[in-house]
Each structure stands twice: as structure tokens, then as C-alpha cells.
């Protein structure tokens, strides 16, 4: 009895630093030694994949990165897999960034997709452009939607965009698709000034934003939604090109199971010890 009380008491009152340590171990270990768990694909990812795969050669796609670097750590799998799909479809891609920390991300993505860029004969300026940080606030997004060339004249490195494929871009109607990768506010501006007017828009959101962005997908403003790192892993699986997402799914799985385990242990401790103690007093 004293022994049970001891275990139950531990389950009710253990130091939270055990939780921190176990999360570290459970996440890092599978990254060092992958376990190869299978994954399943959700309907959202299938729709997302279809929308991107329906892009036609020559379609102009605005590829927006509204994410801090921390967000990129979560959704890089979706970003890179989406870029691969668009490059394989022969789309003209214009990358724009909505956060100062994201200015380093476009080069990382291009480096990851260098094989596809080479295979598709992509040439900077003719087929793809990086405009850099041009989406700092709602006014900037609205101006871009209404008159592109009066807002943007240079790319991220200060070179003129005259003579690139962006010469044909006038306003929101010139884009075949907006592929937004987001952790925050910039998406609301793109939604309001592009998607609401009719520009097809897809979003790859971090997990925290998933519930808040779903109403817009349900109401038809977004054409597709990709959820968090898991959505990116599923997309990698669908395109047959494993990457950072699929590699991380073992850690992802174990992390979720660990949390469920903590909740169950906590409840056993609560009902077996804390509640009884409270009743005694």
C-alpha cells in the first residue's frame, strides 16, 4: 500500500523537468536513428497536391513566405515540396517575403531544389525571381494587388525587374496562384486583397494556425490548406521525394504519444492520490 501510494504520489507530483528531459530524448533520438514508421495521408494534403499539380506551364505563381525562421523550421518540408511541384509543372515563380527573418529562406529553398531548377532549365529573371521583403504591412500588400509595377521595381538584390517575366504582371488578376507559407498576419492581407478578389490561394500553415485558418478554407476563400510539418511530410510522400518532413515524422509520432502518456499518468496520479488526499483533508 505504501509502495502504491509512493508511485501514485510520484505520478501526481513529479518534477516538470522530467517532462522536459523526456521530450528532448524522444525528439532527438529518432532524428539521430530513424525508425521508419509508416505515415498516412490526409484528405487536406491530397487536395493541396491536386491544386498545385494542376498548375500549367507558364502560369505565374506568387510564392509568399510570411514566416519567421522558427516557422520555417516547422513548414520547410511543405515549402520545399511545394516548390518542387511547381518547378516540375514549369510554373513561373515569384518569391516574396513578409518577415525580415525570412529574407534568408528563398536561397535555402532554391538550393534544396537545385536539381529541379537545372532539370527544368530555369533561368533567373526569365522563369523565377526573388523580390525579397516587399510585404511588411497591409498597405504594401494592398498596393501590390492594385498596381504591381508602381510598388516594385527591383528584386531582392537591387536589380531591376524590367525584362523579367514580371513585365506581364499588372495586378491581382495576373497571378494564376498564390502559394502562401505562413506563421502569421501577412496571410490575412493576402486573403483580403488577392484571394477575396478571385486569385486562387493555397496556404501552408503552422499547427497553431490550423484551426483559425480552416474557416476560410471551408468558406472557399482558400483552395487548399496544408497543415504543419505533418502536411509537408505527407506532400513529400505523395510526390515520392522524401525530405525533412518524412525524416521528422518518427520524432513527431513519439512526441504525441509521449504527451498522451503524460496526460494519462497525470490523471492516474490525480484519481489515485491527489483526489484522495483532498477528500481526507
Amino acid at each position: 500500500m505504501a509502495n502504491n501510494g509512493g508511485i501514485l504520489k510520484f505520478m501526481a507530483e513529479y518534477d516538470r523537468r522530467w517532462i522536459y528531459l523526456l521530450i528532448f530524448v524522444v525528439v532527438v533520438a529518432p532524428l539521430l536513428q530513424p525508425l521508419g514508421f509508416p505515415i498516412s495521408v490526409s484528405p487536406d494534403t491530397e487536395v493541396y497536391h491536386k491544386i498545385l499539380a494542376d498548375v500549367k506551364p507558364g502560369d505565374k505563381v506568387l510564392f509568399t513566405l510570411d514566416t519567421e525562421f522558427s516557422g520555417y523550421m516547422e513548414i520547410q518540408s511543405g515549402i520545399i515540396a511545394s516548390m518542387r511541384i511547381l518547378l516540375n509543372r514549369g510554373a513561373k515563380i515569384c518569391v516574396a517575403v513578409g518577415h525580415p527573418e525570412a529574407t534568408s529562406i528563398p536561397q535555402l529553398v532554391f538550393d534544396a531544389c537545385s536539381a529541379e531548377l537545372t532539370a527544368g532549365g530555369y533561368q533567373y529573371g526569365r522563369d523565377y525571381v526573388n523580390l525579397g521583403y516587399i510585404l511588411p504591412n497591409e498597405s504594401a500588400v494592398a498596393a501590390l494587388a492594385e498596381d504591381f509595377h508602381s510598388t516594385v521595381r527591383q528584386d531582392a538584390k537591387g536589380a531591376s525587374i524590367a525584362g523579367t517575366f514580371l513585365d506581364d504582371v499588372k495586378d491581382w488578376s495576373s497571378w494564376a496562384l498564390i502559394a502562401d507559407f505562413t506563421t502569421g498576419l501577412g496571410t490575412a492581407y493576402l486573403r483580403a486583397h488577392f484571394a477575396l478578389r478571385g486569385t486562387p490561394m493555397t496556404v501552408n500553415v503552422i499547427g497553431v494556425m490550423s484551426p483559425t485558418e480552416r474557416p476560410f478554407y471551408d468558406s472557399g476563400i482558400y483552395k487548399a490548406i496544408l497543415n504543419s510539418m505533418r502536411g509537408g511530410a505527407e506532400l513529400e510522400y505523395l510526390i515520392g521525394h522524401p525530405g525533412p518532413g518524412m525524416t521528422a515524422m518518427d520524432a513527431f509520432t513519439l512526441g504525441h504519444y509521449l504527451l498522451i502518456g503524460f496526460i494519462i499518468i497525470g490523471n492516474i496520479g490525480y484519481f489515485g492520490y491527489s483526489r484522495r488526499q483532498a477528500k481526507k483533508t
Binding site: R17, Y20, I23, V27, V28, L31, L32, S70, G71, Y72, M73, E74, I75, Q76, P100, E101, T103, G132, Y133, I134, P136, E138, S139, A140, A142, S150, T151, V152, R153, Q154, G158, R191, A192, H193, A195, L196, I206, G207, V208, M209, S210, P211, P215, F216, D218, S219, G220, I221, N227, S228, M229, R230, P244, T247, A248, A251, F252, G255, H256, L259
Partner: protein, 236 residues
């Protein structure tokens, strides 16, 4: 072959990252303060650089190309800066008034549609036609939105059907919060997993990660045991 710059980036990055994680030990410590102030400082510097470049590319370059009316943007911006001066901050209010008025208009003209009208029209859907699954989804969404809204009615006394609707709304909200919490955790776990993955792939980075963890933990424990952990941290 990995060059010295890449190694230094990984070594410093892992050390600072583990320094920031050291707050999990449970006590503020100077390593955490170092990481925090470094991020604040360099992050602010980065934001300054990027915004100056934005003002240059969108303002100055366009003005040089002949769009002289954008000069007002620079003038308004400089007016707003006068907020720092007690005698002239009324000038800043004029600039802020223009910016606020335009921002409100931008929000009003679109939020009404995306966040209100379209959300309501997406809720009012055919409830008697469709497949079994569609009908289940539609009925659930419609009932949930209505009863959840009644739970948050504070301007009228809840009695009769409104009271029952509110009680049902409360229970349905708890189910919703359970699902939302799970998705929120997924997001946070994804952020952490992605970060760890950044320093375990490629494998040559792993020793730096593990070494940083051990060094930071050792320093924090030593500072705690010698009771000097509070000596150097900034005052709250």
C-alpha cells in the same frame, strides 16, 4: 569538406540555442540573458536594415523613376518620428491620422466580406440535401456556431431556450478546445522538431549540439550550486 565558417556557425548557433533552452532548468541564469539580449539586439538590427531597404526600394527608387507623389510617404514617415519630441508630437498625430484612416479603410472593405459575410453564408448551407457525411458535417457546424455564439451573449439575461442553448454551447466549446489544443501542440512540437532536425542533419553537426547541451547544463548547475546564478542576471 566542411569549412571553418560553417563550423563556427553551428558551434555558436547550438551554444546560444542551448543557452536559451537553459531557462527550462527553472531558474534565470546569465547564459539565458546573453541569448535573449543577443536575439533582441541582432533581431532589431536586422529589422532596421530590412525596413530601411524597403523604404529605399519602394520609396526612393520609385521617386527617382518619376513617381514624385510618393515623396509624401517619406514626409509622413518623418512626421510620425516627431512623436519622440514633446513640443512637436502634434505633428506626428497628423501623420498617424492619415495612416490610421487608410489602414481602417483597407481592413473595413475586406474584413466585412472575408470574416463576416462569407463565414455566415458558409454556415447557412442546405441541411436536408446531400450525402450522410455531408449532412452530419453541416448540421454539426450550423448547430455549433449558433449555440456557441449564445454562450457568449452577455448583454441579455439567459433564460428558457437561450439558457439551454448556452449550456449546450459550453459543452461543445470544450470539445472544440480539446481539438484546438491538440493542433496547437502539433504546431509547437513541429517547431521544436524542425529546430532539432536542423542540427542533427547533416550528422557532422550532432557532436556540436550534444557538446553545447552538456556545457550549458554544466555551467548552469555549477552556478546554481555555488549560489551565483542570480548575481549576473539583469534586474526584472
Amino acid at each position: 569538406m566542411v569549412d571553418i565558417i560553417e563550423i563556427s556557425i553551428v558551434a555558436v548557433g547550438t551554444f546560444l540555442a542551448m543557452a536559451m533552452f537553459s531557462t527550462l532548468y527553472g531558474k534565470s541564469n546569465p547564459l539565458y540573458s546573453l541569448a535573449e539580449e543577443s536575439y533582441l539586439g541582432f533581431g532589431t538590427g536586422l529589422t532596421i536594415v530590412i525596413n530601411v531597404l524597403y523604404i529605399w526600394k519602394t520609396g526612393v527608387v520609385n521617386i527617382q523613376a518619376g513617381d514624385w507623389i510618393l515623396t509624401f510617404g517619406l514626409i509622413l514617415g518623418l512626421m510620425i518620428l516627431l512623436r519622440m519630441n514633446k513640443n512637436y508630437n502634434w505633428i506626428a498625430r497628423l501623420g498617424i491620422a492619415v495612416v490610421l484612416g487608410a489602414q481602417f479603410a483597407l481592413s473595413f472593405r475586406t474584413l466585412i466580406f472575408t470574416n463576416f459575410i462569407q463565414q455566415i453564408s458558409a454556415t447557412i448551407v442546405p441541411l436536408f440535401t446531400g450525402t450522410g457525411t455531408e449532412l452530419l458535417y453541416r448540421w454539426t457546424i450550423t448547430i455549433c456556431v449558433i449555440v456557441m455564439l449564445t454562450f457568449f451573449l452577455y448583454t441579455t439575461e439567459l433564460k428558457g431556450p437561450l439558457l439551454w442553448s448556452s449550456k449546450l454551447g459550453e459543452y461543445l466549446l470544450y470539445i472544440a478546445f480539446g481539438a484546438i489544443f491538440a493542433q496547437t501542440f502539433m504546431g509547437r512540437l513541429g517547431l521544436f522538431t524542425g529546430f532539432m532536425q536542423n542540427y542533427t542533419v547533416p550528422p557532422w553537426q550532432t557532436p556540436y549540439l550534444l557538446a553545447s547541451m552538456i556545457i550549458v547544463l554544466a555551467i548552469v548547475i555549477i552556478l546554481d550550486r555555488t549560489k551565483t546564478i542570480d548575481k549576473w542576471i539583469p534586474e526584472e
